[in-house]
Symmetry: C2
Subunit: 224 residues, 2 copies
DNA sequence: TTTCATAATTATGGATACAGTATTATTCGC
DNA sequence: GCGAATAATACTGTATCCATAATTATGAAA
């Protein structure tokens, strides 16, 4: 093990996180086999923590373990996407509902600050930054809902979604459309209209999926 | 390892399943520490597959791994229940909605057969059997929804719920009330009223939680 | 030339051994 | 007698080793 490491977190957790990042970065593409031995050598660790990390990722659905066959990055089908997005819409809609009911003025102000950041990144067409802050925006609302399990569930699904190359935001006009939808959501939260916030968030998520379907085939390619 | 075992599934999966059953049977109570070494000796296996099994259970939320402290059976608070039940209600409601839209006459007939079984077990006050078939009833509707992710999500939450001793069905009158609610759900599914099926299932789940809250303190004890 | 069977190689799954850290108990000092 | 510090013990975390199963390659036969 590398000396100087404080090792407060277990090694298998670190390995799991590194693998997650590589999967999310599409460096490890869905379907390919994850070579335990090679990775162990590459990371300079033994196979034991690596195997434990793979078990964790398998439980998250990011990798699929075939007995005696090895670990493979999970492949997500279009049908999976069609099943997951409506779920996400429902769950995030619920978040918006609960968040609206419990929102404090400070929390709303924080959301609006994030929204202004989004506007800036959209104006300068910084899609990467927009993507990050957008995640932060949604995460914040999930936290505001006060329901730990609801938030966890959404995060788990989002991990699975990150397996695919979803660049709905890079589709022409989607960035502005997304911003407009955020304005509506914020408005509903600000005025305390929980049901409207729920509906708008719900439709916002589904609109993301719609943009994907429309832009199918022309999705951006990222050189691994 | 026991000879004669075909061992198609990995050992860690078997161990995980055995531990799950012991946790669900409340043989391993929430909060207690799971002794790796002792269990390894007890099962006649090494610590390696046991540790992998614990990682899986941790991902499911059944056990909590405290770094350098060991594995503990997860403790569920009342607040957790208050957060989980509305979620379950929403998710199972959604299942009922989708199931209604896709229901074939054969599937409906199968549901009604299960319902008749429930009536029999209720009449003879066989709570254990009722509980089992009740699970089957709900699971069937989840499968009918055709959404793999929705079903998985509900099953995951249900696992966590099984950590606690939830015997709402053993509370006086709840058995009959549950049956009545099922009648309503079945009626909605049969007539194709998806929205009504959703609402009724939603309320059915919440009613289970309500019964629990009312019956708090007087919950029945089940040996093992 | 293609297909099937057998053998060899490689990788996964499980066991055992070792090191490091945390907890607990005992002893010493105040 | 009580509290703190140090030492010992026990358990987690990691590495190495071994066995078994799967896959691939090679050779022979059709």
């Amino acid at each position: 093990m590398a000396p100087g490491r404080i090792a407060q977190t277990a090694l298998y957790q670190e390995v799991a996180e590194r693998l997650r990042q590589r999967i999310f970065a599409h460096e490890l593409l869905p379907g390919i086999r994850i070579d335990e031995q090679q990775l162990a050598v590459e990371y300079g660790i033994s196979r034991t923590p690596l195997r434990e990390a793979l078990k964790v990722l398998a439980a998250e659905g990011l990798v699929t373990l075939r007995p005696r066959r090895g670990a493979f990055v999970t492949e997500i089908s279009d049908q999976d996407l069609d099943e997951i997005f409506p779920l996400m819409a429902m769950l995030e809609g619920r978040c918006a509902l609960e968040a609206t009911r419990r929102a404090s003025p400070e929390q709303i102000a924080r959301l609006e600050a994030l929204h202004r950041q989004l506007q800036r990144f959209a104006a300068s067409n910084q899609i990467g930054r927009f993507f990050e802050v957008n995640q932060e925006f949604h995460l914040r609302i999930q936290e505001m809902s006060g329901n730990r399990w609801l938030r966890q569930m959404i995060q788990d699904l989002r991990k699975v979604l990150k397996l695919t190359r979803l660049f709905s935001l890079s589709i022409d006009g989607r960035l502005q459309q997304s911003l407009d939808e955020h304005v509506g959501i914020l408005e509903a939260i600000r005025t305390g209209d929980a049901l409207r916030a729920q509906t708008m968030m719900h439709d916002h998520i589904l609109a993301g999926r719609q943009a994907l379907v429309r832009g199918a085939g022309e999705e951006a390619r990222v050189p691994s």
